[in-house]
């Protein structure tokens, strides 16, 4: 491959998995959480991973996030073959290439919002002065500047998820991975968060992979729907342009 074609593939394909498997044993039984999934996500795409609980969608996301390693097959994100990375390299990958938001926000309760948001910058060994500036900007972007000295427990769910989003974006990742980001939120704040994620996707061209079991939510925001069941890919189709436009039109 010439350097030019490498660059081209970076821009074209954000995530590619080939026959990706994640099996584990629970007692006597072998659980095939992810069982031979092959898919490709283009750069800048907004993809929803759908399925009932136990379908393997979260396991799939963990593999893409570099939190888990495949039993077999490969998963390549931004030209990095995750199965071949060392633990150290995988940590760097999580730090710089992907950002994650979770259903339960996963902010560290003993830290203020500002400290939570700047934590990845500490791991990235960014200078303190730079860190303060970046975390303030990030919280400003999600409208939490006034709350930066508060601890997560003093905030509403929506505010916590916005802070988590600020944290996920602080190291300017190429890919945002969201695991049921609205699962713990009421529909109003859920919409607020989803709008933010869509803005990131549309304005910054960030690749977004969102795991959800709410089909309506997926149809409203995602460009493409991937259905998983029992660890296998059962359907992969673009979200109809009509419905996508409808979602846009649905906003007051």
């Amino acid at each position: 491959m010439t350097p030019a074609s490498v660059a081209a593939s970076v821009t074209l394909t954000a995530i590619r998995s080939e026959n990706l498997c994640r099996h584990y044993r629970m007692g006597e039984t072998l659980i095939r959480a992810v069982d031979g999934v092959s898919l490709e996500v283009r750069s800048g795409e907004f993809v929803a991973l759908l399925g009932s609980s136990g379908s393997g969608k979260s396991s799939m996301l963990n593999l893409v996030a570099g939190l888990d390693r495949p039993t077999s097959g490969s998963v390549i994100v931004q030209d990095r073959d995750l199965a071949k990375l060392s633990r150290e390299e995988l940590a760097k990958y999580r730090l710089h290439v992907v950002g994650m938001v979770f259903q339960s926000f996963n902010l560290i309760p003993s830290m203020t919002l500002a400290e939570n948001v700047e934590l990845p910058l500490r791991f990235a060994e960014v200078d303190r002065s730079q860190r303060d500036k970046l975390s303030r900007e990030a919280l400003e972007r999600v409208g939490l500047r006034a709350r930066m000295k508060h601890r997560p427990s003093e905030l509403s769910g929506g505010e916590q998820q916005r802070a988590a989003l600020a944290r996920a974006l602080i190291n300017r990742p190429k890919v945002l991975l969201a695991d049921e980001p609205t699962g713990n939120l009421d529909s109003h704040t859920g919409t607020e968060i989803m709008d933010m994620i869509r803005d990131l996707n549309q304005q910054l061209g960030m690749t977004v992979v969102m795991v959800t079991h709410e089909r309506a939510l997926a149809e409203r925001y995602a460009q493409r729907l991937i259905f998983l069941a029992d660890g296998k890919l059962v359907d992969d189709r673009p979200n109809g342009p009509t419905s996508f436009r409808d979602a846009q039109g649905g906003q007051p």
Binding site: N62, A65, L67, D68, R87, E88, A91, K92, R94, L95, H96, M100, F102, N106, L107, I108, S110, M111, L119, P120, R122, F123, A124, E125, R128, R167, A168, N171
Partner: protein
């Protein structure tokens, strides 16, 4: 992660479960305190012994004697020392030569003799010895009443306390309270004593047989003649010292002290002279022994070796303190081991606390890993927490150990005072012990943190995140 960030996060985490971490830290500090207490007791005792030895004035002194004297210091010398026949005579020439050796401050003959002193017309027979001017600075005269000799040749005398008691007829009954030195000094200072002594008089210019020089004088019987005349000398009492007459310091075995130059000028007949007569080696005085003061106690060995090379027998307290140091090394090791036991228990506390912290902060570790913390970051964080507990515990422990030492010092000194003994410092916390104890506490804590930190680093983020 950078060190300041690591320290900040570690301290924040320690504050989060402040009770448990403080208890663990207290555990470490108690361990360190016991270590400090034990080792400072050891150090203090050693210093006490060294001080006592230094007071005896022997640490920087080498005693030199000749093999011609029948005063072998031990079997070792008997075998290894020079052949008595070849050994040199310890005379003035030898003394000057020794004095010129490097690192030697002075070399003076030990003049010691038994004589009669008259006070109030009553005769008292006692051992008298001469002191060089340098003895003034010796700790041994710290508790002296009056003053040291005004000059090296002054007709003055310093009395040992027990002799002063004898002069005053105040020798206490066994077990009775001893009179204080000041009490004894008041009636005696400034008074005069008369010393009767035997003077050795060399017949003036005896023509030496031609063709004979000093080195081949073994058969020069004629040259060894001298006469002994009885003389008297008036001496002024200038000081009363409470030196222990039985202490190790050679000259202090005497009860009365004269200035060295005065004693030399009197040409007093010494017991050793009698032995010399039978051999009739020379008409020049021969010293039974010479005390060599070395500039620095560390140089004693070198000076001793040089003098041995000259063919003399030497003895120094270094030999004695050598085995004493051996004893202290063993004592130290034991005290150290006992002191460390508490610290070992405390280190188990650290392991326990950190393992608990891992369980408690499992989810937090998962979060940190999910947002990009490496195994090393997590490990370093737990390590830093262990280290911080060790550092804080170490500092607190040294302070605690020091405080315990002060209290015990205070208590024993009250007891010593009640026994009318001088106060002693047998509890010393030297700077190296402070540094060592804190360093040791940190090291032990880091070792204890090794396992928990490794376990935290290996935590699977997916499982850790699932943990509620």
């Amino acid at each position: 992660m950078k060190i300041p960030d690591l320290a900040e996060l570690a301290l924040r985490n320690l504050r989060e479960s402040v009770l448990r971490n403080s208890l663990t830290t207290v555990g470490i500090s108690v361990g360190v305190a016991s270590l400090v207490a034990m080792l400072s007791l050891g150090t203090g005792l050693q210093q006490l012994f060294s001080r006592r030895l230094a007071k005896s004035g022997l640490f920087d002194t080498v005693f030199v004697s000749s093999r011609r004297e029948l005063r072998g210091m031990g079997r070792e010398d008997e075998r290894k020392g020079p052949n008595p026949g070849e050994s040199r005579v310890l005379d003035e020439a030898a003394r000057v030569e020794i004095e010129r050796l490097p690192n030697v401050a002075e070399a003076y003959p030990d003049i010691r003799f038994v004589s009669e002193l008259r006070y109030d017309d009553k005769p008292h027979l006692t051992m008298i010895s001469a002191l060089p001017g340098s003895a003034k600075s010796n700790d041994a005269f710290d508790g002296m009443q009056g003053s040291f000799f005004s000059s090296d040749a002054a007709a003055e005398v310093i009395l040992q306390k027990s002799f002063a008691e004898e002069l005053l007829g105040k020798t206490p009954a066994l077990g009775a309270a001893e009179p204080s030195v000041a009490e004894l000094a008041r009636p005696l200072l400034g008074k005069e004593l008369t010393m009767r002594y035997a003077q050795r008089e060399t017949p003036s210019p005896a023509p030496a047989p031609i063709g004979h020089d000093a080195s081949s004088s073994d058969d020069s019987v004629a040259g060894a003649a001298y006469s002994v005349v009885s003389r008297e000398q008036k001496l002024k009492i200038v000081g009363i010292s409470d030196l222990d007459p039985e202490s190790m310091r050679g000259p202090t075995r005497a009860k009365v002290f004269l200035p060295l130059a005065l004693a030399e000028s009197l040409h007093i007949m010494q017991p050793t002279d009698l032995r010399e007569i039978s051999r009739a080696a020379s008409d020049q005085p021969v010293y039974s022994s010479i005390s060599v003061r070395v500039k620095n106690p560390a140089q004693v060995q070198g000076v001793e070796d040089a003098i041995k090379k000259m063919g003399f027998i030497t003895f120094s307290i270094l030999d004695a303190s050598h085995s004493l140091q051996q004893v202290f090394r063993v004592l130290y090791a034991f005290l150290g081991i006992f002191g460390s036991l508490a610290l070992a228990v405390a280190s188990i506390g650290i392991v326990n606390t950190l393992v608990m912290a891992i369980l408690e902060r499992r989810r937090e570790i998962g979060i940190m890993k999910a947002i990009g913390a490496s195994d090393g970051d997590v490990k370093a964080l737990f390590f830093a927490e262990a280290g911080a507990m060790g550092l804080l515990g170490g500092i607190a422990g040294v302070a605690l150990g020091w405080a315990i030492g002060q209290v015990i010092n205070f208590g024993t000194n009250i007891w010593l005072k009640s026994q009318s003994l001088p106060p002693e410092h047998f509890w010393a916390v030297p700077l190296w012990l402070v540094g060592f104890s804190i360093g040791f506490a940190v090291l032990v804590s880091l070792l204890s943190g090794l396992y928990p930190a490794g376990r935290a680093a290996k935590l699977d983020p997916v499982q850790a995140l699932r943990y509620e």
